[in-house]
């Protein structure tokens, strides 16, 4: 049962790079507690859509609102603080930091780091950080015990799968309300993909009210996890609905499935 309160609502979003229209008036909304699949051929503007929502790109026209609040002109930082957290296609961890530090930094927004305390209440700051470390370790353990065991590895030493896992952990500890996953399964073999999907399912079970948008090429992922699917092509939304309908949609077939 999905309660149908809109979490994110993007109305006719337009994004221009010079001449080229990366997004051409798309309307997308995400509900609480739902997993929205976002598919479309390469260069159809999926990632651009993420960048617009998270405020990395400033959109040319249109409006994005989150929980009824207009976030069109907000900075990435402000948007993140509202609870929209994303992962990246080419995973963007802090590579010279340890896995543990990466996850701990995910909790940055739950903190109010103050210079004063780092001088004069240093011990408290440390003990607090160590508590955070415990929490980080716990969630790493949930996803993959070896990660927890090698939590002092530098992020750059990790395998691709683990990088994505760490990225998801990092995102979760930020207590997001809306989680944007950009091709989490890219470059994984079926087994790994399977694990990943289980992880995602588990996440949405444990985290109440969390909305997830997931960009994917791998249709099996979409078909298993996504409750609703939106299809982009050339920066336009060409279809919307659940996967079974989508796959029958003629336009989509030409644009997308036709390719496979």
């Amino acid at each position: 049962m999905v309660d149908n309160k809109k979490l994110l609502d993007a109305r006719n979003v337009v994004m221009n790079f010079g001449g080229l229209k990366a997004l051409d008036g798309v309307n997308v909304h995400v509900n609480k507690n739902e997993i929205l699949g976002l598919i479309g051929p390469n260069g159809s503007g999926k990632t651009t859509f993420f960048n617009v929502i998270t405020g990395l790109y400033h959109l040319t026209d249109g409006e994005v609102s989150f929980e009824g609040e207009n976030i069109t002109d907000k900075t990435p930082q402000e948007i993140a603080r509202l609870g929209i957290i994303r992962t990246f296609q080419s995973s963007r961890l802090w590579f010279e930091l340890s896995v543990l530090d990466n996850v701990i930094l995910g909790m940055y927004m739950r903190e109010k780091p103050s210079l004063f305390s780092s001088f004069f209440k240093y011990n408290r700051v440390r003990s607090d950080l160590e508590a955070k470390a415990e929490e980080a370790k716990a969630i790493l353990n949930e996803f993959n015990p070896d990660l927890a065991n090698n939590c002092y590895k530098r992020a750059q030493e990790l395998a691709l799968v683990d990088r994505r896992r760490v990225e998801i952990c990092r995102a979760l500890v930020a207590h997001p309300k809306l989680l944007l996953l950009d091709e989490p399964s890219a470059g994984m073999d079926p087994a790994e993909t399977k694990e990943l999907m289980d992880d995602i399912k588990r996440v949405r079970k444990t985290k109440k009210g969390l909305g997830i948008v997931i960009i994917e090429h791998d249709m099996t992922v979409i078909s298993t996890v996504a409750e609703r699917v939106v299809v982009f092509n050339f920066g336009k939304k060409i279809a919307e609905g659940d996967f079974s309908q989508i796959r029958l949609n003629k336009e989509v077939r030409e644009a997308y499935l036709g390719k496979e």
Binding site: N51, L56, Y57
Partner: protein, 306 residues
């Protein structure tokens, strides 16, 4: 009054020729590898040494030969030597660090520059003293009324213009140019479509360094006195010029070079006590550009890719 203004204009153009030639090198290197080669100024002074040395040798070995040919040959040798120096420096101090933190190449090239400078100082005969550039261009020149246009100035100006035109054709019209441009737009892609990236990197460094060589040679002709430690400042000025013009844009580098020269010359000429702090003015201009228009005059806007 107005005459003085014209003369100052000429002075700044003379200075601008050198700055822009150095700046082009910076901009080429940055374009192709996204590195700033901090020893570029030392290429320049190295070339001045090389040019002077070979001119002296020629003038002593075969006196009475048409000096134009001698100059051409000496310049050519200087260009080739400096060009190879550039290639070597790239191989040793930049190639190993293509993937690493940009701080590293900054430092490696800086120390490479120091090494060149020190080698000149230690191993060139009486290298720590000021050196003489043989006076090859006949004195005199054209006098338009009070306005004196020295022969060497005319030579430098014409030659610089030729170089600019040559560069334009090289970049726009030749295969080399198009490939270099391709690499600067997307290193990986270029290597995928089968451009021998390393080769073109070397070529670029050869070209850039030999441009610095030309600037160095002109430096000799124009000032006739030079010293091993005059490279560093020239390098920093060239770098500033290329940034002001917009790193990555050759034409911008030219504009930037002349702009810097104008600022300096007129600060020295018209601001009371300005000659002592002329560099302050040029650097302030650089700072203003960096703060309000980091992409420079012609550089394309810097957006970090996601």
């Amino acid at each position: 009054m107005f005459l003085t203004f014209l003369l100052q204009l000429k002075n700044s153009i003379m200075l601008g020729c050198q700055y822009s030639l150095i700046a082009i090198g910076f901009t080429l290197f940055f374009g192709i590898l996204n590195v700033v080669v901090f020893c570029h100024g030392d290429f320049y002074i190295f070339a001045t040494f090389a040019g002077a040395t070979f001119l002296l040798i020629f003038l002593n070995l075969l006196p009475g030969i048409v000096s134009v040919i001698l100059i051409a040959v000496a310049l050519f040798i200087a260009m080739v030597l400096t060009g190879f120096l550039g290639v070597v420096v790239e191989k040793v101090t930049i190639k190993p660090f293509r993937k690493s933190n940009p701080i590293i190449p900054i430092l490696s090239t800086l120390s490479a520059g120091t090494i060149i400078e020190q080698l000149l100082k230690i191993f060139y005969p009486a290298g720590s003293n000021p050196q003489i550039f043989p006076n090859i261009i006949p004195a005199g020149g054209i006098n338009i009324g009070e306005f004196l246009f020295g022969t060497n100035e005319i030579v430098i100006l014409l030659f610089t213009i030729v170089i600019f035109i040559f560069m334009y054709f090289l970049i726009k019209k030749t295969k080399i140019g198009s490939n270099i441009v391709a690499i600067s737009q997307d290193f990986e892609a270029a290597s995928m479509v089968g451009i021998n990236v390393d080769r073109y990197v070397s070529i670029t460094f050869f070209i850039g360094a030999s441009l610095a060589a030309i600037a160095g040679f002109m430096n000799g002709i124009y000032y006739t006195v030079f010293r091993y430690d005059m490279g560093a400042m020239a390098g920093i000025k060239g770098f500033s010029a290329s940034v002001v013009g917009g790193l990555g844009s050759v034409f911008g580098a030219v504009i930037g070079g002349f702009l810097m020269a104008f600022v300096e010359t007129f600060a020295a000429a018209y601001i009371p006590g300005g000659s002592a702090i002329r560099d302050v003015f040029s650097f302030v201009v650089v700072l203003l550009f960096l703060i309000f228009r980091p992409s420079g005059i012609l550089g394309e806007k810097i957006i970090d890719k996601v």
